[in-house]
């Protein structure tokens, strides 16, 4: 735990632990459950969206994140990506 804290303090990326994999799988499973689509379709959607955004911005694809957020009576699909820089050559 202290190691991880130090890694975090110094901005080092901690190696992927099994719970990180669990969390990723869980998130994806929940999005699929809610949209009632297969994981396959969701991954394709993600690939397509990343491709479109990448035409205009340079993004960190490893940090790209697709999620469902729920408010009282409505679920929304939320995409999150760090933008590294704008492409000047489009």
């Amino acid at each position: 735990m202290i190691n991880r804290l130090i890694q975090k303090l110094f901005g080092k990326q901690a190696g992927e632990e099994s719970k990180d994999i669990a969390k990723k799988r869980l998130k994806l499973a929940l999005v699929c459950d809610k949209l009632e689509v297969s994981e396959d379709i969701l991954k394709k959607l993600q690939t397509d969206i990343v491709a479109v955004i990448s035409r205009y911005f340079e993004i960190d694809k490893t940090e790209f994140n697709i999620d469902i957020q729920r408010t009282d009576d409505l679920a929304s699909l939320v995409l999150n990506t760090p933008i590294l820089r704008t492409r000047t050559n489009y």
Binding site: L5, S18, K19, D20, A22, L26, L30, D33, R70
Partner: protein, 266 residues
């Protein structure tokens, strides 16, 4: 004044619903509240053995709901805690022996006599779940830090919201060593994924198995981390909603306590 009716549910089986119902019920009864715990797992009753009351069963929930006996006759008094009662499930009926409408009527009567009515839900989201939830004002969702349990919890939380119940979460069977080395989802990971408020965190604790062997409430064992965590949940449910949630940890070194202070904030 009417009592609170709380359903304990999870979706997935074996995550600790029955243990939590018995323990939180006992904790509240020990502080002087009048508590009845109702086993809604018709056909697979368990709460009676966990509480050590299996030899005293005469009537059951199906009898009581269908008017074959008075609710007082079906409520078995606990051996050790005066204000604690159990209404056992029936072992031979099927789940259709009760309907949500009848359950609502029955619980209305119970509410008049008890400060807290806890309903221990069967696994799944079918008839038994519907029967219990129909009569509930509040819900406790139990999950363990595993992908399957959290996913099922999410499903149940969605169903509860659709019935206008805002549930609270208990994460059970936490193994701090595993969380600390990154091999088990932490409670913050679980809360990141689920849209729900946290009520309590229960560590994996061998004492739970020992207490279940003998049918004694785990809250009687002051050395038990799980027992103490259940007591804190009782307090949070009854008059002390701001009691801090303790995060299970391996050792309570000062350093870890400091780290936790930052980790618990939410």
């Amino acid at each position: 004044m009417d009592g609170k009716v709380i359903v304990v549910t999870s979706g997935k089986g074996g995550v600790g619903k029955t243990t939590a119902t018995a323990s939180v019920g006992a904790a509240l009864a020990q502080t002087g509240k009048r508590v009845v715990v109702v086993d809604m797992d018709i056909g697979l009753r368990n709460l009676d053995v966990v509480m050590g009351l299996e030899n005293r069963i005469v009537f059951n929930i199906v009898d009581a709901v269908n008017g074959k006996c008075k609710s007082r006759q079906a409520a078995i008094k606990d051996r050790k805690i005066d204000n604690l009662f159990l209404i056992p499930a029936s072992q031979n009926d099927n789940k259709n022996a009760i309907t949500p409408e009848k359950m609502v009527e029955f619980v209305k009567e119970l509410k008049k006599e008890f400060d807290f009515v806890f309903m221990d839900c069967p696994a799944g989201i079918e008839q038994g779940f519907e029967n219990a939830v129909a009569a509930a004002d509040e819900a406790l969702v139990i999950c363990t830090p595993e992908v399957s349990a959290v996913r099922d919890a999410d499903r149940v939380i969605g169903l509860l919201y659709s019935k206008s119940i805002t549930p609270k979460l208990i994460v059970n069977r936490i193994v701090p060593e595993m969380v600390e080395r990154g091999d088990m989802l932490s409670h913050t990971d679980v809360l990141d994924v689920l849209s729900i408020d946290l009520l309590g965190l229960i560590p994996m604790d061998e004492n739970v198995v020992v207490a279940t062997n003998t049918g004694t409430p785990i809250i009687f064992n002051n050395q038990s981390k799980a027992g103490n965590a259940f007591k804190r949940i009782g307090l949070r449910l009854d008059g002390h909603p701001d009691l801090p949630i303790e995060v299970p940890s391996t050792k309570s070194s000062l350093w870890k306590k400091i780290v936790q202070k930052f980790a618990v904030k939410k």
